[in-house]
């Protein structure tokens, strides 16, 4: 079976006076139908730009570099224009952003905005569109959906606003839902509600989900596979339980050790020295080498190859001794 989405050598560049910067630099991965994949990284890792690139929504003056390939179900997304591109944006790929307050239009009712998304991809009668809107609001757990459709965004809580965003993303019956930090702006008890909702909807609709987050805690137990991104590149990918049990890359290892936990022994946190590099000055060789506690001879000068580290686990590090996948 061919994957639903295949991304190959994705590069995003921004022109600068001192030469172009490349915040996303050679990212390749694929997602199967119905699969739950997480893309994990810190701020500046390039994870959000990667997800915008899937929809060709890179903000000006950035561009997706030539040689990048994005294929959705056999369709070459890079060559699409006009209607065909629009059918993907919010149609076959739905998108949920972090901050529902800035993504929703404050002067239109939430019902209007969901209905707009419903009719954007299919023509139907007004009554049918209204019914469909109320059904979507109900699906995302809005109480009194017919009534709440008339509310403006500011009249709803942060959790309900994020549910509206999810309803909009579902309106086009997507095969892939991309959720970019969907719960970062929310309180933990509301975060739990939204994550549970996403789980439920995915199971019912059997769509694939790409969850983009900085929080490894959100990923555990809710995804099938994790991809870890650092400084514009993927540095490790593994089935979720495997990533937590036996992380292969020193960055993944350090990230897990630096996270405070609620259970287990209480020790001083291991911290990673320094800070995340800027896209204008990626370090040479392995991009993590200046902060890596386990670096060896070739790390500073030579780019490590992408290698197999375990069952369905691959990574980019000189310490990984496996074969090229």
């Amino acid at each position: 079976m061919t994957p639903l989405l295949t991304v190959d050598n994705l590069r995003v560049t921004f022109p600068r006076a001192t030469g172009p910067s490349t915040p996303v630099d050679g990212v390749s991965f694929s997602i199967d139908r119905g699969e739950r994949v997480a893309l994990v990284g810190e701020s500046g890792s390039g994870k959000s730009l990667t997800c915008l690139a899937l929809l060709r929504l890179i903000p000006h003056p950035g561009v997706i570099a030539a040689g990048s390939s994005i294929r959705l179900d056999g369709t070459d997304v890079m060559t699409l224009e006009g209607e065909a591109l629009r059918a993907i944006r919010g149609g076959r790929i739905g998108l949920v952003f972090q901050d529902p307050m800035t993504s929703l239009n404050p002067v239109l009712t939430v019902g209007y905005q969901v209905q707009e998304a419903v009719t954007a991809h299919r023509s139907m009668s007004r009554a049918e569109a209204r019914d469909r809107t109320v059904a979507l609001l109900e699906e995302v757990g809005i109480p009194d959906p017919a009534d709440r459709a008339g509310a403006y965004p500011h009249q709803l809580s942060g959790g309900l606003r994020q549910r509206i965003m999810i309803a909009i993303a579902l309106a086009g019956e997507p095969d892939l839902l991309v959720a970019d930090e969907p719960t970062t702006a929310l309180d933990v008890t509301i975060q739990a509600q939204i994550l549970e909702l996403l789980d439920r909807i995915r199971t019912r609709r059997n769509m694939a989900v790409l969850l983009i987050t900085h929080d490894l805690g959100v990923v555990a137990g809710r995804t099938d596979r994790v991809m870890v991104m650092y400084a514009g590149q993927l540095i490790e990918t593994a089935p979720t339980p495997r990533l937590f049990a036996a992380p292969a890359h020193p960055y993944t290892q350090a990230l897990l050790q630096s996270m405070p936990r609620l259970t287990g022994p209480l020790n001083r946190l291991a911290s990673i020295g320094g800070s995340v590099p800027e896209p204008t000055a990626w370090p040479s060789g392995c991009r993590f080498h200046p902060r890596c506690a386990r670096r060896i001879g070739p790390c500073a000068a030579e780019v490590p190859p992408w290698r197999e580290a375990g069952p369905a686990q691959e990574g980019r590090c000189w310490l990984i001794e496996g074969q090229a996948p």
Binding site: F244, L256, R261, I272
Partner: protein, 325 residues
């Protein structure tokens, strides 16, 4: 109240008028509804709550950065709320605050050195070249180079800026520091560095902290005692281990179960609370948590009578049914 406490807060109330106009009286936001707490010398009390729980207002009110409507605050026996200008200035040298946002809390037009020196000059703690020496020593203490003094805030990363904020608070040799979500704006890999720094400074300087946070895993790392806030009041309070391992209030239990743990093996019961906290402008007559409560013993009394904080088992709990598991 415990004798020997450095800080004693009793029945603190703060309401904010909101909206209103010529023919409409303003609504009242109930931010603090009778908050009492103590902090002992060299101790960290964590004030935990979600947005709108009143934890930030509490931190500001006890430093008199805003004026509470009622209640008392005593610092080392001195009445903070009744203090005159001169007394207050003396208190402000001994009580400091570090803010959440290291971007917004430093003056972008002042060099880091000038920002850190400000308090030293106001309180005349050093003169002439001694000021610079003291600034450089402080920067060293928080892990920055002396040369940082001549740079501007925008030249630093988020983690470094938070270190500057800490140096600025410590410049006047305080005994007590309010830490208002000091790491929640930072990346995971940098968060651990700052938490370790705060622990080292507490040990070396004998500081007392009021650590305001929403992340219970972070709180576990930092606190000796924990107070959980909901709707402007403490609902559970006790030692770190008692609150985290033997919580009695249904809200504390739900909050703990909602923390995303970076370990797929941990099998925990997930309690997903329905709905949102009640509106801060319309306080419910009974228990403010009643509208979301899942406790099996929940009854009519919860809707009509507000539970007071009382001793049950090892912690103080504000729940009518704290004895029933």
């Amino acid at each position: 109240m415990t004798s020997g406490a450095l800080l004693e807060v009793a029945d603190l109330v703060k309401h904010f008028p909101q909206g209103g106009g010529l023919f409409r009286s303003p609504r009242v936001v109930h931010a603090l509804n009778g908050l009492s707490l103590t902090v002992a010398p060299k101790e960290t009390l964590a004030l935990v709550g979600e947005s709108g729980s009143g934890k930030t207002t509490a931190g500001r009110a006890l430093l008199r950065l805003l004026d509470p409507d009622a209640g008392t605050v005593r610092f080392d026996g001195v009445d903070v709320l009744a203090a005159d200008r001169k007394t207050l200035k003396g208190l402000r040298r001994r009580m400091q605050i570090v803010f959440q946002d290291p971007y917004g809390s430093l003056d972008p037009r002042m060099t880091v050195g000038a920002s850190v020196a400000e308090g030293i000059e106001i309180h005349r703690l050093a003169q002439g070249p001694e000021i610079r020496a003291r600034v450089e020593r402080l920067l060293g203490e928080v892990g920055l180079e002396p040369a940082a003094a001549d740079k501007y805030p925008h030249q630093f990363s988020g983690g470094q800026r938070q270190r500057i904020g800490i140096a600025r608070a410590l410049a006047v040799d305080p005994e007590f520091v309010v830490l208002d979500e000091p790491v929640s704006a930072l990346d995971v890999s940098v968060q651990a560095q700052v938490l370790n720094l705060l622990l080292d400074l507490q040990r070396d300087r004998g500081l007392s902290y009021l650590f305001i946070a929403h992340d219970l895993a972070v709180v576990r790392q930092m606190a000796h005692r924990i107070a959980v806030m909901y709707y402007g009041r403490i609902v559970e309070q006790g030692s770190r281990d008692d609150v985290l391992e033997r919580p009695r209030h249904p809200y504390t239990r739900a909050l703990l179960s909602a923390v995303p743990e970076p370990d797929p093996e941990t099998q925990r019961v997930r309690i997903v609370l329905p709905g949102d906290p009640p509106s801060p402008t319309t306080p419910p007559p009974g228990c403010p948590f009643a509208s979301r409560c899942y406790h099996s013993a929940r009854d009519r009394r919860c809707d009509t009578e507000r539970p007071e904080l009382r001793s049950v088992g090892a912690t103080l709990v504000a729940c009518h049914h704290a004895e029933t598991a």
